[in-house]
């Protein structure tokens, strides 16, 4: 079948899945007084449309920061302003200052869902198309494309819970694709834009930085490398300046915005998150034992320690493959060890893992499924059980079938070969780890996830442990994430020299 028709069919299919999910309920539906993320987005449209720029991030009589105050960088605000203009054309009631608080209606829901779809179509999907067809190797291009499009986590969060992750993730993906094609300046531009849309993209910033710096080093600091460095630095600064233009006039503004973006007063974690601190909290109540400052320092140090190996390796060897792995490692490390992490942030590591679907199908599919599973309590709160089940099943089915994941778990394919030779002499018992990723463990894990999902829905938790099921879900996912972090780090660091890898590629 011709390429274009298959691509269109895949896109149409992905769009249908997205819209079908969007017909379900959203976050905070019918739950006054605070509602949820849906109301937050609507409120931001109201605020940005009706108030002048210098009041957006401040607590004023018209703008109560306690009621969903703006806490994303300026690009989100501009995007909300754009949506608000469109909303005003269709129905002014939706963005009336104060009067439209808590507004919920059929037409409005359609409008909001449509904005997500449009953003997705314009930014995320073209990036995925470009990635699948220009940067992935092998004969599986269309299959990879379909699988990436079907990743349940992004669909459920963006179209169910309601957020605009496809914009920030899409822009970051554009950055990766463009860098992969060799246009460094444009790549950094795309990434800066992505960063200015959601500050969580900082999780991805270190790999971008190391990759570009490494490339500059490779080209020699004395000549072209320095020139490249200067170009990139100038692009970054100019883009930042352009995005923050309305706020640059007053240092107080900048401080306030930064204060809103990084709420250090909020504590180590909120709710149940599948990261180290929350899981550790089960055993030792670190949240109460340590002071906020100590918590901050501990999380900072552990995060830095966790991302150091992969960043250094990337700095030394800036190739696309290393870059992808570093993206995974860095964002996953941030997710596991950082401060004030939300469960939705798992989407940040999930995006680079999607890019690894072609090369390491089984671990990638395992991770993506685990990431969707880790957000189960959130989905249950939003009433998205049925879409969760259907999209997870569809994703698992399609990816396993299309990418023949279960056949490709030999040591050779998992790139663990060189690792074994390198480290088996150091500590003998580490050899056991390489057997972790195989078919049986995968089946067991998936069954366990299904079982836990079923239990969370069907059974009521015992009275003394009301959070039993969300806790079980997070701890289970946490163990997966930790294991996969180790695995991806090992793959990145133990990568054999160029020639061996080329031979491996040929034999694949």
């Amino acid at each position: 079948m011709e390429n274009w028709s298959l691509v269109s069919i895949c896109v149409l299919f992905g769009l249908t899945a997205r819209w079908a999910v969007s017909l379900n309920s959203y976050s905070g539906a019918g739950k006054p007084p605070m509602f949820g993320d849906y109301e937050a987005q609507r409120h931001w449209q109201e605020v940005t449309y009706n108030l002048p720029v210098h009041e957006w991030y401040f607590n004023t009589t018209d703008n109560n920061l306690n009621y969903w105050g703006l806490d994303y960088p300026p690009l989100t605000a501009y995007h909300s302003l754009l949506c608000a203009h469109v909303a005003k054309l269709i129905n002014p009631d939706w963005v009336e200052l104060h009067a439209s608080r808590g507004h919920e209606s059929y037409g409005h829901k359609l409008f909001m869902r449509a904005t997500v779809l449009v953003a997705d179509l314009l930014i995320y999907i073209p990036a995925v198309v470009l990635y699948s067809f220009y940067l992935s190797e092998g004969s599986n291009k269309k299959k990879v494309f379909l699988c990436i499009l079907l990743y349940p986590g992004l669909i459920l969060i963006d179209y169910g819970h309601f957020q605009y992750n496809s914009i920030s993730l899409g822009l970051a993906l554009w950055g990766v694709v463009v860098l992969g094609l060799g246009w460094d300046v444009l790549g950094s531009l795309a990434f800066v834009l992505s960063l200015n849309y959601k500050q969580m993209e900082l999780y991805h910033s270190l790999p971008f930085f190391c990759y570009l710096l490494g490339k500059c080093f490779k080209q020699g600091l004395a000549g072209r490398g320095l020139f490249l460095l200067v170009k990139i630095a100038v692009t970054v600064l100019v883009t930042f300046a352009l995005c923050w233009l309305p706020f640059l006039s007053d240092p107080g503004q900048i401080l306030q915005v930064v204060h809103r973006l990084f709420p250090v007063g909020r504590g180590l974690f909120e709710d149940k998150v599948a990261n180290t601190w929350c899981s550790l909290n089960v055993l030792i109540k670190i949240k109460t034992i340590l002071s906020t400052d100590t918590q901050l320092y501990i999380s900072l140090t552990t995060t830095l320690l966790a991302i150091l190996p992969s960043s250094i390796k990337l700095l030394m060897k800036p190739t696309l493959w290393q870059f992808k792995l570093a993206l995974v490692n860095s964002s996953l490390a941030f997710f596991l060890f950082s401060f004030q992490v939300h469960e939705k942030s798992i989407l940040l590591p999930a995006l680079p893992v999607c890019l690894l679907l072609n090369d390491l199908p089984l671990p990638a599919i395992w991770f993506l499924q685990a990431s969707t599973f880790s957000m189960l309590p959130l989905f249950l709160k939003d009433g998205l059980l049925v879409p969760y089940v259907v999209t997870s099943l569809a994703f698992l089915f399609f990816s396993i079938y299309l990418l023949s994941a279960l056949e490709h778990c030999s040591e050779d394919k998992l790139r663990l070969g060189p690792y074994r030779r390198l480290l088996i002499c150091i500590v003998r018992r580490y050899g056991y780890l390489s057997n972790c990723i195989n078919k049986d463990h995968f089946y067991f894990s998936i069954t366990a996830m299904a079982g836990l999902s079923f239990m969370s829905v069907a059974l009521a938790p015992p009275a003394q442990l009301p959070d039993l099921f969300p806790l079980l879900v997070s701890v289970f996912s946490y163990l997966h994430f930790l294991g996969l972090l180790l695995y991806f780090n090992i793959v990145q660091i133990a990568e054999p020299p160029q020639s061996v890898r080329k031979n491996q590629k040929k034999s694949n």
């Binding site: 769009l15 249908t16 079908a20 379900n24």
Partner: protein
Amino acid sequence: LASVSLITALAALPLHSTDFEVHRNWLAITHSLPVSKWYHENTSEWTLDYPPLFAWFEYSLSHVAQHFDKEMLVVQNLLYTSPATILFQRLSVIVTDIVFIYAVKECCRSVREEKGSKDLLGHPFFILAALLLWNFGLLIVDHIHFQYNGFLFGILLLSVARHLQGRHLEGALLFTVLLNLKHIYLYIAPAYGIFLLRSYCFTEDNTDGSVRWSSFSPVRLVALGSIVISVGALSFGPFIAMGQLPQVLSRLFPFKRGLCHAYWAPNVWALYNMVDKALSVLGVRLKLLDVAKLPKASMTGGLVQEFQHSILPSVSPSITLICTLLSIMVMLSIWCRPRGARGFLRCLVVCALGSFMFGWHVHEKAILMAILPFSILAVESREDAGIFLMLTTTGHYSLFPLLFTAAELPIKVLLMLLFTLYSFTSLKKLFRGSLLNPLETTYLLGLVAVEILCEVVYPLSPWQHTMPFVPLLVTSVYCSLGVCYSFIRLYVSLLRQHGTDKHKQL
């Protein structure tokens, strides 16, 4: 093949339509009331109007339904909805679709395959499977609009497959069961009747293909007859015993419902109505007619009532019957010169389409009865593929008004695009080349214009309030042109085959 079937499970959507209430009501009726009251019950406006076997089917479903939500089984709970109810009904459709999937598998086995290597996507049986399982019309009608057609069409396709495989008795049994599940299949009963009589009861033909009276086999006739009678007895038996047959029949065949459904199915009568309306408007403008003498209220007001035509002669049920019979006269060709199971399939399609074109109070969903079996022929012959593309696209588009809320608009557009794109590209690849002439292509592109007009432009224009039926009218008339055209082409191809056979004989 398995991968394609999973997609039907994606249709778990929280949408609601009137047919939900219909089936919920039937679940309630069959569960709570004794058998004798089933066809007399009329608390709700949606009375039981399918034959008894379907009622028994609903009865068995209702036993499962008990576990989901007892409240839905109380007859008085009109318009009762709860998440559990919706979940149960959607699940029941998905589960009964298993029959459909099995039937598709059987059909695919009977499809002729060409020699030569192809990748999976190019095999005729895969294309057929995809065309059937992803059939846009079926998806929309069953899963979104809510009916049990997947299950019923599964039985139909299974019976066709059995005939293609030569297992005629099974095919006949399946068809009688089907007939007793939904009497709309009476449309194609003549095709079955003549085919079975001709090919099955007369075990041999003369060398030139005409009837050899001497080979009549009474045993087979008796076998067929006994199947039909026993199934009929099983389903209708209790009601005949209770003397309720007239009541049941009046519920099954409500001739009071008017020539056309609320939304005109795209058949000949739609064109007829259109001409009638146009002439009346013209007459009023040219002062030839008095406005006061014309019957009030439009026929497309969205309600189901009887109307009289203003200028052209009114059409009564008997006229539609005669027209239908005339149009399917071509079936006699299989009497004269049977062409095996494939000829039978072709006649079945012509029968279904003919009844659609000329029938009384036809639902637009009935177009699926022609499209689905036609898919089997479409993957085998080039000319059929061309007609198929024309028919499916127009037929599917005519189903659009079934989903009229704004939330469903992207879904139906996306699914339609998905299916149309797939059918065009896969059939094109299979038969290597373009299948439609430019006129047809322009017509199909015109559908896009009609869609934009009806769904986007018209609602924003001032006429929306004064003449709200115009989009429906335009859709139905435009589609009926396409459907009529396909019907004529199919008819012509059948006659041409008949002609070439005669030539061969000479």
